[in-house]
């Protein structure tokens, strides 16, 4: 488990720099050096006055599966929201007020669709359901323009 920094909350009080036993909090890009961070140490998390630091698992434990009926009902909603997003996108081509409203509706439906996807089964990138989907997407290798390399890298990086 390593610390991560939300740079939007960081107020540069720099307490993390002075409590960190390994120097992992002091980097040129503002993010913690995960490879040097001590597993579960949390000294910086507790010291930060701005709550800009939190802990993330390196490897996630297996999460219980969602109920199949809830998941499939959410899949139906997901498809409905996506259809509304696509209708909105198709209507958003012009410059008039209606086009702007259609764009807002498309955007809102994408947010709703993402929420359905999250609650159906794809909340954690490291989860078994995400892995299953990625593995199945390898079957699209050879489809014109399909970025199969991205799928392969994700399967490698997300354990």
């Amino acid at each position: 488990m390593h610390a991560a920094r939300n740079i939007a909350l960081c107020t540069k009080d720099c307490l993390c720099l002075f409590v960190c036993p390994t120097g992992a909090t002091d980097t040129e890009n503002g993010q913690i050096d995960f490879s040097r961070c001590l597993d579960g140490c949390r000294l910086c998390v507790d010291a930060c006055p701005s709550h800009a630091l939190y802990l993330v698992f390196d490897r996630y434990p297996v999460k219980p599966q969602k109920d199949a009926v809830v998941a499939s009902a959410l899949d139906n909603l997901l498809e409905s929201k996506v259809k509304q997003e696509l209708i909105g996108t198709a209507l958003a081509q012009g410059e008039n007020g209606g086009a702007k409203l259609a764009k807002a509706i498309a955007h809102s439906n994408r947010v709703l669709a993402e929420d359905c996807a999250r609650e159906a089964r794809y909340i954690l990138p490291q989860g078994s359901e995400t892995r299953k989907l990625l593995t199945e997407l390898l079957g699209r290798r050879g489809d014109p323009g399909f970025p199969v390399d991205a799928v392969e890298q994700l399967l490698e990086l997300l354990q």
Binding site: L77, K81, K83, Q84, G88, L91, H107, E119
Partner: protein, 150 residues
């Protein structure tokens, strides 16, 4: 392996942008970028067939309100899935906002937005038609910083 998932390309785009955001929150920018790459592929391969009008949204909104959310809610209550119930609580309200905005647009046309901006809450999808960004989302209580101006 044969591709068997039931999701359409449009849904796969939303699944991938959702996972990209999850990677961002875990401070995994490389993985977030890879999910974004997949999402753009799926977005390019998604679309609606034929001409559409704003009224085409009505049937979907009605189906979501009358059956879609109810199906999730009743089962989620039975199995104690509080995450799904949270999704239903926000989603039903946002869907009702879509309906009311469309009804008002049908009556007033472009005058509805005159002198106002459109803002969408990135947390729940709430649409605000207002001069200034809302200080707090009335549905999910997200702060002003979570709104995107359209």
């Amino acid at each position: 392996m044969e591709y068997k998932e039931p999701h359409t390309n449009g849904a796969l785009a939303a699944i991938c942008t959702n996972l990209s955001k999850a990677c961002d929150k875990q401070m995994r920018p490389t993985e977030a970028g890879l999910f974004d790459k997949l999402a753009s592929y799926f977005s390019q391969s998604a679309g609606v067939a034929g001409p559409v009008s704003i009224n085409d949204l009505d049937a979907n909104i009605a189906a979501d309100t009358e059956s879609g959310y109810i199906a999730v809610e009743s089962r989620a209550q039975q199995v104690g899935d509080r995450g799904a119930l949270r999704c239903v609580t926000w989603g039903k309200k946002v869907t009702a906002i879509h309906k009311s905005v469309l009804v008002r647009y049908a009556k007033q046309g472009d005058a509805l937005m005159e002198g106002s901006n459109l803002y969408v809450c990135e947390a729940c999808g709430f649409i605000a038609i207002a001069k200034e960004v809302p200080g707090l989302c009335p549905i999910c209580k997200a702060p002003a910083s979570r709104f995107t101006k359209i």
